[in-house]
Structure formats: structure tokens, C-alpha cells
Amino acid sequence: MPLRDRRTEGMLERFSQAERWIHHVTALLMLVCLVTAALLYVPALSAAVGRRDLIKPLHVYAGFALPVPVLLGLLSRAFRADLSRFNRFDPADWEWLQRRDRRDVAYPKDGDGLPRGVVPIGKFNPGQKLNAAFTMGAILVMLGTGAILTFPDPWPDRWRTGATFMHDWLFLIILVVTLGHLWYAARDPGALGGLLTGRVDRAWAARHHPGWLDEHERAGEIASGNTPETPPKRHPENPDNPLKTRPNRS
């Protein structure tokens, strides 16, 4: 639970507006793809709904549109930076994967400062990174196999049956992974808020992404200009923060 006290003052910018649009449009297209896929493909559902003449084109258009938001997103510097973060596994990520207490938080002994995650995870944790990479790969494989199914003429029959096989079974895996993604999101109001508004509070960041919070503090990007070691006081950003010149770990 995010703490609602003075320590939560100062929000961190997590996602730019462009990044949120990329997410939301991709999410909407993915949902359309998954729902229409279920209607076309799960025998019990397709027997109940039918309407293949309507649902199939809907599925095909949504599928071909699915990579577009990400491709357009490459124009955004913030999105490119986050793609780079998703890509790399740093030592903290490997530690997080190995530790059973990866979700635990440590409470500061002096009673001041924010409870912090025990592993200094950066902006994204390895689960989020793997989910992002899986989703990217899945979109590309579905795009390729879907293109073979939509335009079957140039392909040998064996490939078309193989593409049907991949498209069918990867659908089931994507469904499971996407439901898992929604499950984690629904249990974490801080993360949901971050995606809706672009901002998260420091308590959430300290708990889930302490390494990222530290980056911010070193870069002096927090509106309140505080570091986790000192309780925040109401004062404007300190432009003379000596830590500002340290290199950013990203």
C-alpha cells in the first residue's frame, strides 16, 4: 500500500504522454485481437456467435495494426530510452530472479525515509522486461504467421498448416501472459496510476523500483528534490543538488 503521508510528496515522471498512448492503443488492439480470436477459434464460442464474415476482417485489421503504435513510438525519445531499459538485464535483475524474497521491502531503521524494495531494481523489473520482450516477439510471430494465413497464395501448403499451428498455439500462450499482465496490474494501483497519469509517487517507486528512484534522486529530477535518506520538507527543487552531475546509470 502506498503511504499517504508527507513522505509520499513529490511525484516521479514514469511514462510520457507518447508512451502512454503507445501502451493504450497497443492494449486496445491486442484486446480486439484476443477477443475476436477467441470468437473465431474456440469451437464452443464460434458455434455460439458465428458471424465469421464480420469478425474475421476485424481480427485481421486489428492484427496488422498491432505493431504500428510501437513503430510510431520509435519517434519518441522517452520510448526509445525505455526500450533500451527493457532490453538490458543488469546484476540487480539477475539477483531479483534468484531471490525468493524479491518482493520484500526493508523498513529504514531510524523510522524515517521510505520502505525500500530489498533488490535495487531499476525502472522495470525482470518480469516486466520479459513480458515486454515476449509481447514484442509474440506480436512479430503473430504478424508473420497471420500474414501467411491472410495471403496464402505464395506459400507451400506445409507452411500454411505450420503457420496455422503456430498462430493457434501462440494465441493460447499470449492469452495466458496477457491475463497475467492484467492480474499483476490490477493488484497494483500505483502501477496502474503510473500508466494512466504518467506519474507515480516516491513511496511506490521506493518499494518497487528503488534503483530507479535513486537514479532520479541523483539526477535531481524529483520535484521536491529530496533524497530517500532525508525526510522531505516543503521546499522547491534545489538546483544546486551536488549529486546532479553524477552519471546516470541507465
Partner: protein, 249 residues
């Protein structure tokens, strides 16, 4: 920068230590690995699907959840819902350019000579169900009962789903492997398979085997069917149409 979505976008990091600290490009490896698996799956998926089908075949109801499992058929319909007809209230009207228009009940059809066939069912979208048993009245036998007039050149089929139609030339309709089928898979044709009576055009792609057969009409020329007005080939020979080269059924 634009060309390197997975690369480094931070110009500050340049020396070797910092590069190591950034960590391994696991995300890129996952994406590339999935692309490799995807390509391999396309290459060998045909035999894998066969294995999956036989592995899942004994698991009764799973065919309602997983495609291609169960009896191997996939349910396609172009309408939201199809009225159910039982064997008791089913009627097939045969008219158009015939000497004696007639309506057949299930009992009327059962009284005609029955033809049995075991043939593969090949869908134009790629799936195939091997060695399906079919039984019913061969279309030429039914046409002989009503008497085809000399002006007839083609046959039009309508589905009691209210929308779907199909067509054959008269020559195609006279083949002995075209059935007005009342049995498939060793039992009555179920509603989801297009029962109680459907067409089975053995040498052609599945869209020719119209489900929920309600009417047969002899015409002086081919009136193209539902999918044929949407780009499918009118002569739908398996392996020789629709740009496909499947083995003949």
C-alpha cells in the same frame, strides 16, 4: 538513434565498464529467439499438429475449447445463429428447372438409395480432417427422382441459416461423390456440423459442402455462392483452386 530501438540511447555511457553494467541484452535475445521458434514452428508445425491431435483425441470435451482437437473440424458460420431443425421437422425443397418439384422429409431421403463415402475433408483455410465417414443420398440419385429439365445447366443450394448459398455446375452435381448427407463421423449430422442434412462435395474445398441444407434449385446458369461473391473460386477443386496445392481429397 532511431535505428537502434534496443540499443543504448544514453550518450553518456561509452566505456567498457559502463557497457557491462548495463547488462546483457536479454530482451533482444528473447525477441530473436521467439522469431526463430516461430519460423521453426511454421516449418514443422504440420507434423506437430498431427501429434497434438492424436494426443488430445482421447480427451473428450477438449474439442470444445481447443481448435483442431476433438473431431478436427472447426466451426464456421456466416450468421449469428442458425435455427435448429430436428429430424422430425426437417424439410428439403427441390425445385427450379425440374419436371417435378418436390419436398423431402428425412424419411423420404432415407427411403432413397444410400451412398457411403470415406474421404478427407479439406478446408480452404488450411485445416484437413482425414478419413471422414459420410452417408446420404448421392446428388445424382436425388436429381433423378425430380427429373432435371433440358434447360438446366447448374444447381444452386441454399442453407436454412437464411444467408449461405452455394453452386455447382450440373456436370459437377452429377458426380457420385457429391452427397446430400444425413450422416457423418459415424452418426447423424449434428447441428454444429450443419445437420440434420448438409451437402458434402468430396472433391472440393469445404466451403462447397454447404451446411444446414434447406433448398436445391436447378438453374440455367451458375449463380455464384456466398464466398464466391467474396473472392473464392467457383470451381473449388482441392489442390487446383484458390491458389492452393493441397493433396486431392
Amino acid at each position: 538513434m532511431v535505428g537502434a530501438p534496443w540499443g543504448c540511447s544514453n550518450g553518456n555511457v561509452s566505456n567498457e565498464d559502463a557497457r557491462r553494467a548495463r547488462g546483457a541484452p536479454v530482451g533482444r535475445r528473447v525477441v530473436l529467439g521467439m522469431l526463430g521458434l516461430g519460423a521453426a514452428g511454421v516449418a514443422v508445425g504440420t507434423s506437430l499438429q498431427r501429434g497434438v491431435n492424436s494426443a488430445l483425441a482421447p480427451v473428450g470435451q477438449i474439442g470444445n475449447v481447443l481448435p483442431g482437437a476433438g473431431d478436427g473440424f472447426r466451426y464456421y458460420s456466416v450468421v449469428g445463429g442458425v435455427p435448429r431443425r430436428t429430424a422430425a421437422d426437417y424439410k428439403l425443397t427441390v425445385g427450379g428447372l425440374v419436371r417435378q418439384p418436390q419436398t423431402f422429409t428425412m424419411a423420404d431421403l432415407a427411403a432413397l438409395p444410400q451412398t457411403r463415402l470415406t474421404r478427407d475433408f479439406q478446408c480452404v483455410t488450411g485445416w484437413r480432417v482425414p478419413e471422414v465417414m459420410w452417408a446420404g443420398v448421392a446428388l445424382p440419385d436425388l436429381l433423378d427422382v425430380v427429373g432435371v429439365s433440358g434447360a438446366a445447366r447448374a444447381v444452386r443450394f441454399t442453407s436454412f441459416d437464411g444467408v449461405y448459398t452455394e453452386s455447382l455446375t450440373l456436370e459437377q452435381a452429377r458426380r457420385r461423390d457429391v452427397l446430400v448427407a444425413s450422416e457423418m463421423l459415424g452418426g447423424p449430422v449434428t447441428h454444429d456440423h450443419g445437420g440434420p442434412v448438409r451437402l458434402f462435395v468430396a472433391p472440393m474445398y469445404g466451403y462447397k459442402s454447404l451446411k444446414w441444407l434447406g433448398g436445391i434449385e436447378l438453374t440455367d446458369k451458375v449463380i455464384t455462392g456466398y464466398w464466391e461473391r467474396r473472392g473464392y473460386d467457383v470451381d473449388a477443386w482441392v489442390g487446383r483452386s484458390n491458389g492452393r496445392d493441397d493433396a486431392p481429397t
